[in-house]
């Protein structure tokens, strides 16, 4: 029937649009990538350190509840602390050994946190106890969720949001697409890149489990175009029986931010203050997908992760399999130690990562990388007044007016900042990166967010 077919003009317009669409989002910045330091290096396993320290708080949500006592001997993969409620995640021993202490320990976020110290058994082969591997085929949605939670899987992209919570979206929302985040837009980091290149089948297996659990028929893996080998590897191992597509994305920071990724991949805009599920999407990191595959292949919970150690302040940059709880000091030593002009150790990428206050702070589940900056790379602390050049407005991926917000922050007008959509700021730092006057915008916004949280709600 000729009438039923879309008109020539409509078809032309659709074709044109698909060619014009660049699979990107508006605004954003282009920081130097520096990925060449580690992008070509295969993932290696680091030797077990003498001691691991496992904080009870490694994920977004309530800290885990302690179930071991000082002096206990634990095997790799044993439960040390259980999830405290649904939005929480258990902590497992990342190495066999003796619990020598339970108490306060420096946390990578700069605070102190309750942590379990394990003296690693020096002659242990570090093989996990044999365990039942749940057969995901036969599991219901709820059983998959429980298995994922019990394995302590959290988002490995940095935020460490428990994966099982994301797999259980509110029942009134229909999820039609899973987006796998392989953007890895932070400079220096190549963790996800190497996972996609070396373990593409694990990523696809993880996707298969998620699609099964959620009953979702479509998955799109978004990868920035600067990782052609990752795209090739994923294409090569793509399953034939599932609707999985690999989508090359514009290279731009913050492409890997959930809302930006959804905009780039599906051209959907997550409403302000809402979750991705409200537009029918669930986003998972490629590392989380690969870990999910491992959990259902071997039964081993999340006890180790892949960490990029990079930067011009480290002697031998590397992509390493690191037991969770490895102290930064040991990790840096495994990479040849710091160079003489090392100036700052950052957990995570250099755009959103946190500078480390103590080298005893351990690698946790959400640690995507450790970047050591050299002296000349450290940001200057002096700043000039705002000259209203407008660059921050052109950089902000969520279209805020950072210069206006900063002037409010300086005088403590936090309520007005809230009205000006401060909550939509995800602290990506794009504004700060481009600011010619070197104004610490992201820091001001972070402080303002904290101040607003502390303040009792003001009634008008």
């Amino acid at each position: 029937m000729a009438e039923a077919r879309p008109g020539v003009l409509t078809r032309l317009a659709t074709t044109a649009r698909s060619h014009v669409r660049s699979f990107g989002f508006a605004h954003g910045v282009h920081p130097p990538e520096h990925k060449e330091l580690t992008a070509h290096l295969p993932i290696r396993r680091m030797p077990y350190p003498n001691e691991v320290v496992l904080p009870l708080r490694q994920h977004a949500g309530k800290p885990a509840k302690l179930v071991v006592a000082k002096g206990a001997y634990v095997e790799r993969g044993d439960v040390l602390a259980t999830a405290d409620g649904f939005v929480s995640s258990p902590v497992h021993a990342s190495a066999s050994g003796r619990v020598i202490d339970i108490g306060w320990w420096p946390h990578p976020d700069g605070s102190m946190a309750q942590a379990i110290r394990i003296e690693v058994a020096p002659y242990s082969a570090q093989v996990a106890r044999p365990r039942m591997v749940p057969d995901w085929h036969g599991l219901t949605h709820d059983e998959v969720i429980r298995a994922v939670q019990e394995a302590g899987v959290v988002g490995l992209g940095g935020a460490a949001f428990p994966t099982h919570v994301k797999l259980a979206p509110p029942r009134d929302l229909t999820i039609d697409t899973i987006i796998i985040n392989g953007a890895e837009c932070e400079p220096y980091l190549t963790t996800d890149h190497r996972i996609m290149v070396e373990y593409p089948d694990r990523v696809h297996f993880g996707v298969r489990i998620m699609m099964h659990a959620l009953g979702v028929r479509r998955t799109i893996i978004g990868v920035e175009r600067n990782k052609p080998d990752a795209i090739t590897a994923l294409e090569r191992t793509k399953p034939n029986d599932l609707d999985v597509a690999i989508l090359p994305l514009t290279v731009k920071y913050p492409q890997g931010a959930e809302k930006m990724l959804i905009k780039s991949v599906l051209d959907r805009e997550v409403p302000s203050g809402k979750l991705p599920a409200s537009v029918g999407v669930i986003v998972q990191n490629v590392g989380s997908a690969a870990t999910l595959a491992e959990v259902f292949e071997t039964g081993l919970p999340l006890v180790e992760r892949i960490v990029t150690v990079s930067g011009h302040g480290i002697r031998r940059p590397a992509n390493l399999i690191v037991p969770v709880g490895t102290k930064t000091r040991d990790l840096l030593d495994a990479c040849g130690g710091l160079t003489d002009d090392a100036a700052e150790v950052i957990f995570g990428g250099p755009m959103m990562g946190t500078a480390l206050a103590d080298l005893d702070a351990p690698v946790i589940k959400g640690t995507t990388g450790v970047v050591v900056l050299a002296h000349d790379e450290v940001r200057d602390q002096a700043s000039l007044p705002c000259i209203h050049c407008g660059r921050c407005l052109e950089a902000c991926p969520v279209f805020l007016d950072p210069s206006h917000l900063a002037s409010l922050a300086r005088v403590g007008r936090y309520e007005e900042m809230a009205e000006a959509h401060l909550a939509d700021c995800m602290l990506c730092g794009s504004c700060t990166f481009v600011c010619p006057s070197n104004i610490p915008l992201a820091q001001l916004f972070n402080l303002s967010k904290t101040a607003l949280k502390r303040r009792p709600a003001v009634t008008a």
């Binding site: 108490g103 905009k263 950052i346 730092g429």
Partner: protein, 353 residues
Amino acid sequence: MTPSVDRSMPRPAAMAAGHSDGAPLVITASPHLKGRDTTARIMWTVVATLVPIAGASIYFFGPSALLVIVASMIGAFLVEHFLGKGGTLRDGSAAITGLLLALTMPPGTPMWMAALGGAFAIAFGKLIFGGLGFNAFNPALLGRAFLQAAFPTALTTWPKFGGSWWALRGDTFALPFMHPHETAVVTAATPLGLMKFEGKSTALSDLLLGTTGGSLGETAALLILVCGAYLALKRYLDWRIPSSVLGTVAAFAALLHFANATRYPSAAFMLLSGGLVLGAVYMATDPVTAPVTKAGRWAFGIGIGVLVVVIRIWGGLPEGVMYAILLMNALVPFINRLTRPRVFGAPRVKVTS
């Protein structure tokens, strides 16, 4: 059962996380990377692109031009140095103000007036508001407005173009309160003055190259455009502002010219004469006194363009660029508020606050 927690555990050496050998590590807030452009770099690049324009003015108007530039910059520097917050000379904004102000003055302006103008521009155009970034009006134009109000004769006396390069173009070395010196300088009206009061046009080639009467830096339209294009390419100025100013003037003037060719000058004449190009490229684009949003910058430029034509055609003055920009400067906060972009994920309906 709550397992006991040993709170007396020795607190590890927190902070000052020095590695065994080498300097202590620092802790700064994210992001830890920084783009290459700095405010000082932007400002000094603008100064650098003004140098050829200043050079052209010296070539056209002789030593007087150089002396006016030097005097104006000294005035600006002294005030910035002694009244500024300290160290602010390095950001380069005082250099821009002093230089730009000089470029708006007639070649024969006495040096003391130029210096006073530079001092006024920095003190009352910038520092009184709180320094760089806080001023509402373009400091150079405010200085120029002050001079024109205080010394209307000196600021509207234009030496005739040409003659010996060495000849002074006016009472350059005059002192305050001195009676006007009867110099041999031949004065002539500027192209805009000729047009307004005598209905005479000037050859476009003269306007383009700068071989005509006028203020120091406003005559060589082509050179200014080239320098401005360089800054726009480096993204040190927003091309939207000069484009919308010049585009609006061209469109408006062309419309008038089309309606009555004998009464209204052509669009090309309007574009190239007076301080329009200098104003559009270097004054209206001052980021401090221009809107921050893209839409706002278009609106700002269009507003300036319309005002320039209105003042030139129907106003009492032959030139209106200065007042057009200053007037639009005053509207910048409103333009910013009205053109703030829609926040990502916010409802598309405009919410007025």
